[in-house]
C-alpha cells in the first residue's frame, strides 16, 4: 500500500506527520518504508533523528546497486526503513509513463506493508502524477486561509489531471487544460460547467469523467488545530469538496497544536517516541490506526 502525503503549503507539517505516522505504524508491527520526495527540503531523516543518508535512489537508477532494497536506510526503529532520492524519484515521475510505472513497481516490490511518500509542497506535474499513482493521497492542511487555499489549488490540479488522463478525445483533453484557467473563454468556472461542456463534445468522455470523479477519494489531515472550531473546518472542507468537485474527501483526523511537537523537533526526536502521551502524539496514533485498518 503506497500513501503519498502532499498538497497544502510548505510548513503545514507533512514531513513531521509522515515520520511520526510511519513510526506509529511500525510500532503496530507493520513493515514501513518512508520515502523522502520533498524537493524543496528533503529532511525526513531529521524528523527520525538520523544523519543525512549516503545512499539514495539514484544509486539504484544508475545501477550502482542491483536491487532497490540495498539503498534502504535502516533506522533504530524496528520495521522502519528510509529511502531518499527525491530528485531521482520525481524526475522519473516526469518521464514517460512506462518508466514511472516501472519505478512504482520496484517500490511496491520492496518487502514492506506500507510505503509513505513525503511529496512536500508544490503542485508540479511530477508531484501530481505521483499523488495520483499512489493507492491513497493524503493532504495535510492547517486551519489557515493560505494553507486551505493552496490545498484547493493542489486538489484542483490533481483532479483535472486525473480527469484528463481518463478521457480519450484530444479536444476534450485540451478543454480540460483550458478549464484549469479560471478566466477561460468558455466560461467554465467549476467541474459541473466542465461536464456540461464535455457532454456537448463527447458523451462517452463526459461519462468517463463522472465515473473518474466518483472514484477519486483523497484523504485529509488537519494539523495544528487549536480549537473545536478548527476541527470543524475539516468537515467543512469535506462538504465544500463534495459540492464543488463532487468528490468524497475522507477526513482522516486532526493533530492538535502542541508545544511538545516543537520541543520534539528541536531535539530531533520523533514525538511519538519522545512523548507518546502528549495530545498530538495521541492524535497521530489515532490516524495511524485508521491507516492500519485500511490494509
Amino acid at each position: 500500500m503506497i500513501w503519498t502525503i502532499g498538497g497544502g503549503k510548505g510548513g503545514s507539517g507533512k514531513s513531521f506527520i509522515t515520520a511520526n505516522i510511519g513510526i506509529c505504524l511500525s510500532k503496530l508491527g507493520i513493515r514501513v518504508v518512508l520515502i523522502d520526495a520533498d524537493l524543496g527540503g528533503a529532511n525526513l531523516h531529521t524528523f527520525l533523528g538520523i544523519s543525512p543518508p549516503g545512499l539514495s535512489l539514484s544509486d539504484f537508477i544508475k545501477k550502482r546497486v542491483s536491487h532497490l532494497r540495498e539503498v534502504l536506510i535502516p533506522t533504530a526503529i524496528p520495521n522502519l526503513q528510509l529511502l531518499t532520492g527525491a530528485q531521482d524519484l520525481l524526475n522519473a515521475a516526469d518521464s514517460k509513463s512506462v518508466q514511472k510505472r516501472k519505478l512504482v513497481r520496484s517500490i511496491q516490490s520492496l518487502e514492506s506493508d506500507t510505503i509513505l511518500v513525503d511529496l512536500g509542497a508544490g503542485n508540479s506535474l511530477s508531484v501530481l502524477d505521483f499523488f495520483l499513482m499512489s493507492d491513497g493521497g493524503i493532504l495535510v492542511v492547517t486551519p489557515e486561509p493560505t494553507s486551505i487555499e493552496n490545498t484547493y489549488r493542489f486538489l484542483k490540479s490533481a483532479f483535472y489531471r486525473r480527469l484528463k488522463q481518463s478521457v480519450s478525445s484530444s479536444s476534450v483533453k485540451a478543454l480540460i487544460d483550458s478549464a484549469m484557467d479560471q478566466k477561460n473563454e468558455m466560461g467554465i468556472q467549476n467541474p459541473h460547467d466542465l461536464i456540461r461542456a464535455v457532454r456537448r463534445m463527447d458523451e462517452g468522455d463526459a461519462q468517463r469523467i463522472i465515473e473518474e470523479a466518483a472514484t477519486f477519494h483523497p484523504n485529509l489531515i488537519l494539523n495544528q488545530v487549536r480549537s473545536k472550531k478548527d476541527i470543524e473546518i475539516g468537515f467543512s472542507i469535506r462538504s465544500a469538496c463534495l459540492k464543488y468537485f463532487g468528490i468524497h474527501l475522507h477526513y482522516l483526523g486532526y493533530v492538535v497544536y502542541d508545544q511538545d511537537v516543537v520541543n520534539s523537533i528541536r531535539r530531533r526526536r520523533p514525538l511519538v517516541l519522545e512523548n507518546p502521551r502528549s495530545r498530538a502524539a495521541q492524535c497521530l496514533m489515532e490516524i495511524a490506526s485508521k491507516l492500519a485498518n485500511s490494509h
Binding site: I195, F235, S239, A240
Partner: protein, 197 residues
C-alpha cells in the same frame, strides 16, 4: 457529480433519505457553518454568487425537510418523478432522544442564527422546527418546565444562579442535538450583555 440545482434536498444537506429531524437539524447547522460568507473552507473555492446560491438551496432544503407535510409531498413528487420509491419513515422517533451521537464523531457541530448567538428565542425556534414539545424536553432532561420556559422566554430575573443555569443549558442543548458548550457560552454571554443594557 451534480450541480447544486440538480441535487435533491437530501443531497444538499448531506443526509440520508431516512434522516430524523435531529439529524437534519445537525446537518443544517453544519451546512450553514460551512457555507457562511466568511467561511475559510469555501471562500477560495466558490464565487460569492455560487455561495449565495448554495445558501439559498440549504435554506429551502431545510424548510421542506423539517416540515413533515412538505417533506412527504416532496418525497412523493420527487421520487415518483425519478421513478423510485419514496423513502421509509425515519426509523428513529422524531424528537428528543438520549441516544449517542452517531455522526461526526469527533465534534459537535453548531451554527449561529442571523444574530450570531444562541439565545432563548433561537432555542425555542430550533425545538419547534424539530417538532419537540417543551414537556418532552423537561421529561428527558429532568429540568422543571418553568425553568425551560424562562430560558426560552429570556426571563432573566427568574433564572437560577449561573452555576445551575449552565448545567440546565447544557442538558437542554444536548437533548436537541446542539453543541452544549457553544449554546451555554453564547446564552450566558447574551444574558450578561442584556443585563448591561
Amino acid at each position: 457529480m451534480k450541480g447544486i440545482k440538480d441535487q435533491t434536498y437530501y443531497e444538499i444537506l448531506e443526509v440520508s433519505l431516512t434522516a430524523t429531524a435531529k439529524e437534519i437539524q445537525r446537518a443544517y447547522e453544519h451546512a450553514k457553518e460551512t457555507f457562511h460568507a466568511d467561511s475559510l473552507a469555501v471562500y477560495s473555492l466558490f464565487s460569492g454568487e455560487e455561495v449565495k446560491e448554495i445558501q439559498e438551496a440549504i435554506e429551502e432544503a431545510y424548510r421542506v425537510l423539517m416540515d413533515e407535510a412538505l417533506r412527504r409531498s416532496y418525497d412523493q413528487s420527487h421520487f415518483q418523478m425519478v421513478g423510485g420509491q419514496p423513502p421509509e419513515k425515519p426509523s428513529e422517533a422524531q424528537g428528543v432522544s438520549r441516544g449517542k451521537k452517531t455522526s461526526l464523531s469527533f465534534t459537535g457541530l453548531s451554527f449561529n442564527d442571523e444574530e450570531g448567538l444562541y439565545r432563548g428565542k433561537t432555542l425555542k425556534q430550533v425545538r419547534e422546527r424539530m417538532g419537540v414539545e417543551l414537556q418532552t424536553v423537561s421529561k428527558e432532561t429532568k429540568i422543571n418546565i418553568k425553568i425551560l420556559e424562562w430560558i426560552e422566554e429570556e426571563t432573566f430575573e427568574k433564572l437560577p444562579a449561573l452555576v445551575y443555569l449552565k448545567g440546565f443549558l447544557k442538558s437542554y442543548a444536548q437533548s436537541l442535538g446542539l453543541d452544549p458548550q457553544k449554546v451555554t457560552e453564547e446564552y450566558i454571554r447574551f444574558v450578561e450583555e442584556s443585563k448591561k443594557r
